[in-house]
Every structure is written in structure tokens, then in C-alpha cells.
């Protein structure tokens, strides 16, 4: 659970910066930041499940 927490903190801080430096209105930048955060989390979980089914020995 702690790994997910650090991953979410990482995704959150990165998304904040990406949203802040983006062009557009405040609303557009907020939505962009949320989208980046969602993408980070989605890809991490998707990759996690893909790797779960891969044999590692």
C-alpha cells in the first residue's frame, strides 16, 4: 500500500507542475493536470497487472 501512496504522491506533484506550465485558461490547465495524474495512475496499474501475469523465473 505504501508503494501506491508514493506513486500517487509522485504522480500528483508531477501533474501539478505539468498543469502549471501548460498554456490555456485556469480551467483548461486544471483539467490537463488532472488528466496527467489520471494517466500516470492508470498506466502504473495497467503495467502492474501485465507484469503480475508474466512469469519471472
Amino acid at each position: 500500500m505504501r508503494h501506491v501512496l508514493w506513486m500517487a504522491i509522485f504522480a500528483g506533484l508531477t501533474a501539478v507542475v505539468f498543469g502549471a506550465v501548460a498554456r490555456g485558461t485556469n480551467r483548461q490547465r486544471l483539467l490537463y493536470g488532472l488528466k496527467v495524474f489520471g494517466e500516470f495512475m492508470f498506466i502504473a496499474f495497467a503495467l502492474g497487472w501485465v507484469l503480475y501475469f508474466l512469469p519471472y523465473r
Binding site: W6, F10, T14, A20
Partner: protein
């Protein structure tokens, strides 16, 4: 018409102040935007970079330097991650002067998280620096 616009844009001189703001933004995360009186942006960008860097150190991550354990040409493999770390500006220099954060703590479970936080803090500060520079040069609102 587009070519004419591009030519006109490229002919606009970058003010010296913009270079100073860019340098300040690199040196201390958030300072560049403070100089431009963009307080909210300074707080958000600077706060994120500071938080990420300090969290990285707290998680046991380590900073890269050329004088690491690798010898010969292999030492240059450290150059890329080091250039990412250097993006944090004086935070990196302060750590280098006080020899903080350069020791490897691979036994810690959060070691790799810490490394990633430290690397990305520097890279995000490069983004913030470019943003401050563009704002100061009038290329962005």
C-alpha cells in the same frame, strides 16, 4: 503569412532580464516566478519541486555525481542522471557542499523511489525554469 510571422517572432530580441529570471528560476525553485510577481505559480511550481526533492532525500534516494564509484569511461554513465539532479539548482549544490544525499542506501525499500523523486525534481525544475524564462521574455502569458 505564417513564415512572415515566424520571421517577425525570431527577430524579437530576448530581454536580458529574462536570462536573469531563468537563472534565478534554476538556482532556487520558485524564485524566477517570484521575481515576475507570479506568486501563485511560484508557490505551486517551487513548492512541488522542493517537496519532491526533499521527499526524495527522505526516502533515501541518492544524488549522482561524476566522481562516483565508477572508473574510467564508465564514470560518464553518471552524466545523464547527474544533469537531471543538477536541475534542482542550489539544492543540489548545497547537498554537494555538505555531502548530503550522495551515499547509496540500496538496502532501503524506498531507495529507488527516492532516486526517481530526486531525478524528476531536477527535470521539473528545468520545466519551471523555461516557463519563467518564457514569461519574462513575453512569449507566454
Amino acid at each position: 503569412m505564417v513564415a512572415k510571422q515566424i520571421q517577425q517572432t525570431s527577430n524579437v530580441e530576448t530581454p536580458r532580464y529574462a536570462w536573469l529570471v531563468g537563472l534565478a528560476a534554476w538556482a532556487v525553485p520558485g524564485l524566477g516566478h517570484m521575481l515576475l510577481r507570479r506568486w501563485a505559480r511560484a508557490l505551486v511550481l517551487g513548492g512541488s519541486v522542493w517537496a519532491m526533492f526533499l521527499t526524495g532525500l527522505w526516502l533515501g534516494g541518492h544524488l549522482f555525481t561524476l566522481s562516483g564509484t565508477d572508473q574510467g569511461p564508465a564514470a560518464f554513465l553518471q552524466l545523464l542522471p547527474m544533469s537531471a539532479n543538477v536541475g534542482a539548482g542550489f539544492l543540489y549544490i548545497f547537498c554537494w557542499l555538505t555531502k548530503t544525499g550522495f551515499a547509496e542506501h540500496a538496502q532501503l525499500i524506498t531507495f529507488e523511489y527516492g532516486n526517481t523523486f530526486l531525478l524528476v525534481a531536477g527535470l521539473l525544475n528545468y520545466l519551471a525554469m523555461l516557463d519563467a524564462f518564457d514569461l519574462a521574455a513575453g512569449r507566454k502569458q
